[in-house]
Symmetry: C2
Subunit: 663 residues, 2 copies
Amino acid sequence: MSQRVSDDAMAEVIAETRSDSSSRRHGGGDDDFVTDLPYMHRVGTPPKQPLFQEIKHSLMETFFADKPFHKFKDQSGSRKFVLALQSLFPILEWGRDYNLKKFRGDFVSGLTIASLCIPQDLAYAKLAYLDPWYGLYSSFVAPLVYAFMGTSRDIAIGPVAVVSLLLGSLLSSEISDTKSHDYVRLAFTATFFAGVTQLVLGVCRLGFLIDFLSHAAIVGFMAGAAITIALQQLKGLLGIKNFTTKTDIVSVLHSVWSNVHHGWNWETILIGLSFLIFLLITKYIAKRNKKLFWVSAISPMISVVVSTFFVYITRADEKGVSIVKHIKSGVNPSSANEIFFSGKYLGAGVRIGIVSGMVALTEAVAIGRTFAAMKDYSLDGNKEMVAMGTMNIVGSLTSSYVTTGSFSRSAVNFMAGCQTAVSNIVMSIVVLLTLLVLTPLFKYTPNAVLASIIIAAVVNLVNIEAMVLLWKIDKFDFVACMGAFFGVIFKSVEIGLLIAVAISFAKILLQVTRPRTAVLGKLPGTTVYRNIQQYPKAAQIPGMLIIRIDSAIYFSNSNYIKERILRWLIEEESQRTESELPGIQNLIVEMSPVTDIDTSGIHAFEELYKTLQKREVQLILANPGPVVIEKLHASKLTDLIGEDKIFLTVADAVATFGPKGVK
Amino acid sequence: MSQRVSDDAMAEVIAETRSDSSSRRHGGGDDDFVTDLPYMHRVGTPPKQPLFQEIKHSLMETFFADKPFHKFKDQSGSRKFVLALQSLFPILEWGRDYNLKKFRGDFVSGLTIASLCIPQDLAYAKLAYLDPWYGLYSSFVAPLVYAFMGTSRDIAIGPVAVVSLLLGSLLSSEISDTKSHDYVRLAFTATFFAGVTQLVLGVCRLGFLIDFLSHAAIVGFMAGAAITIALQQLKGLLGIKNFTTKTDIVSVLHSVWSNVHHGWNWETILIGLSFLIFLLITKYIAKRNKKLFWVSAISPMISVVVSTFFVYITRADEKGVSIVKHIKSGVNPSSANEIFFSGKYLGAGVRIGIVSGMVALTEAVAIGRTFAAMKDYSLDGNKEMVAMGTMNIVGSLTSSYVTTGSFSRSAVNFMAGCQTAVSNIVMSIVVLLTLLVLTPLFKYTPNAVLASIIIAAVVNLVNIEAMVLLWKIDKFDFVACMGAFFGVIFKSVEIGLLIAVAISFAKILLQVTRPRTAVLGKLPGTTVYRNIQQYPKAAQIPGMLIIRIDSAIYFSNSNYIKERILRWLIEEESQRTESELPGIQNLIVEMSPVTDIDTSGIHAFEELYKTLQKREVQLILANPGPVVIEKLHASKLTDLIGEDKIFLTVADAVATFGPKGVK
């Protein structure tokens, strides 16, 4: 059957192509009546949709582009309930196919990421100026919640370096005494509202908002944050006691140099540097041989164990090596009544929550998408946000701070062969056991080792390859990247973020204000018209100017487009007069790329038409799209320009109004 | 010569067309080697520009799209100076061709707009809660400055209703005692910074910023402001003493009703209503017969004269009819040391200045463009802003408040036959004479007549026709219009303005986040591929899916585009399986409308390619533009996809990879 259909189609096509080429040759002879020839297609007007349909379609495409309700259609009530539950808790769906083989993969990868996350948790909590156990708390509750609600199979949930830094920087600018109880309470408040932000974005299907932070801006922001974080670690690594609280590179380096004579502790430096070198070597090994990824994955744990043991037997802490000292034991206590729901810190909590929630989301979605593309499964952005939001709200009630997907741990998770989110559950259980049993052992862990673990972890965030690629591909992207980068390292994380967002927006605005236009010429031997800049062989038609507008025409660019077209016309006219070519009588506007036009655009065309009339140049439109032709009709602009001046292709317009013989 | 060239071109084209159609027919037979046939053009890569050139070109197109320095090229030093002076003061250029005939037109139109502007000035100043003589001051200095620096020949400069209302509303929210001296000083401060804003926009060539307030938003805002202004006049028209200071419709109507028994003054109502009816009738006459435009132009002056005389002889002011009473005589005093350059009101002055300066500019540029298009001369947007800015800065130093182009007076100016900006000078001199000699005569002018003049003037701002057109052409524009409209009448002028800007931006963001995509089919009998929704006759090719992306691919939409393409693929596959048609082996992406791609877009294509590979679907690109092909090369994406999968046209791609015989 299928074969027959395609054969039929081909036969039809072949027959028509023949009559086509013959009628074309005929059409070239007497061009006045060419429009009546059978091969000429008129510009189609799509079937008019009722208003409600139109609005519904446009809303659906904006908010429900992924058709989330598709599967609910034509289902019974109880089935709908099951589907809704499955949609909220994807574990109910994939859990049914879960088997021992998958568990083996998840178990191994869960243990691997647990060994990586425990030392990182202790270290990252310090970046947020929180006590180390809050890092462990955050790696227990949040991954459990995510495992039930998330759609990514590879993401590893927990505290991450950049969000910890951002949170610490924002919180401490609000409450400078980071040891006060209010500071911790504000951290939980911010976490709560970060979760609310994420949940609201997901439920209101506004997930596309995070797309506004461009890839380039993220690359720059991450690299800047990594360098800032690494610089912060000089405090722990060099054993400096009086360290600046600012994060910009100038203050930090000044602080480091001014402490060189009396503030550096040589025992600390020895410990810190040796483990940093160890960590970087294992990283290098893992990079050279992907199979040895576990070497770098367990090296932080090895560093912690070895250094703790070393400090314990040498009692180096008495020689000035700073250690973790006190670390709380036991499971997360409730923090539900610690959150500021009123009072002077509520506003700050909401603001910090929104910023850190958005940044956390951007990181998680970027990670989720990367791994989903690698394994070719689909990631539901809005569902992810709901999962992240719930996880942070629950986290804020159980003494956790903002968590998200960690890039380094997710990569290890992936390479260790994780199959589902169960690896997060395994990790979470290991963290629980650590909290219950092992925390006293971290007492002698030197802070210098935690600093080296952080440095080794953030090195990868400086993605020089990506920056080089940005430079090669798109200079504007590179500027955005550098803006974010220098903003972070020379001012602060917030300023860097602001610069990144501002440049991203500026790019969008530039795109819609100054769209491209191109002069088209005919490729020899074809009826194809192309940009004469790209195809130097393309020849212009005597007496005609063909311009393509490369954007939807909106209020933001309608005036520019009108004036740009007139400028092309004036420039071309003077050039042709110089070369003694005939003047321009016809201006063809190729509208293929013009997907939409608004009332300002219609007005601009009206004005263009009037100006051209004064200059005795005929305005001809080629290939307006469905939306455009509808609006041209609605505004009666078609009557003004003339229906017979609107063609399906540039070639048709040239055949009709061009010099004889050209088409 | 010219004839010969075009004949040659034609001969060549005809010859090539013949070989074209024959080779095409040949090509249809054995499609495997079609790529080697002579008619196949490869996708061109434009000559690589050096980086500096590229950046320069892009900056020029953004900020100097009108090539302002073009005429300075290859000129001597002294000539450059003259040109620069002429460019700053266009009067030096057009003044040389000025003659008596032109002056006759300017004189008549100048007198006409003066007779219209004097009563309006008195009335509009009250809208800004300023004493009436400030309106006259503003109509003396500002038009003089504009006449020397402006490029519009038809615009009539002076205070306008909407800006006066906006200014009054913003100023009084800052200083509620509008009779205090600080209030007047703040008004001058705001005017100064409005001028600075306009000047900076012009000098920095950021004029395109005002394009972001869409036509639709302006229509709604103006209509809302007109109704608000008219409602405010009920105070004067009904002679109410205790009137609300709020501007929203609910407060105003409440205030009117609550005063019905003891607050209304019947003598005032009689005077106000009779002159309002007289003004509306003359307006109607002028609308019916364009030649009688002067009837409506002089009717406000007649109303003022008649009513003043009437009050004077009947002493109606003793019966409770409110009159202008005191009016200052003499030319504008200096106000240079009244402006707040420091202190607590500086911030408010700057903020109010920026807002009112932008709104004033939007109105002036819209008016200027309308009349420039009617008479087909070009208006230099940036030069206009410099002129407006200077005029308001000078105005603020000479006791004037924010001025701009008035739509009603400009229309009268145009119809009265103005030739150049000299009509503004004539008007300015008449205002000067009034200030010197006639002001005492306005003492008995009843406020009710000024109220009727305002109402009659703003009636035209409610442009119902334009609203209907918005509804017909673009529903989104209509929503923006209504948002601004209801924002103004139910909340305040500022809120309405904010809503208008927000909706305009939302539209831009929507456009760049959710671009359109379309499935293409082959129009029978052609090699033209078009949207199958618009052209139901267009037939899909068996085994192929052709998708056109209708937008530049940027970080804000790259992910959506990728997922949308995959969704098209999945939907089409399931449809074709149902109809027992062959599955899809080739996905052609028509890139003609894709004018640009950034690094996020490149990544999205990489991911798309990988996903398609997993599904055993071949990715083919058709007609990438110059910028896009360059970036595809730079990112090595061409190597990944394969150079032989990138075609000049969809037809070429179909001829190569499609079923035999279709092309």
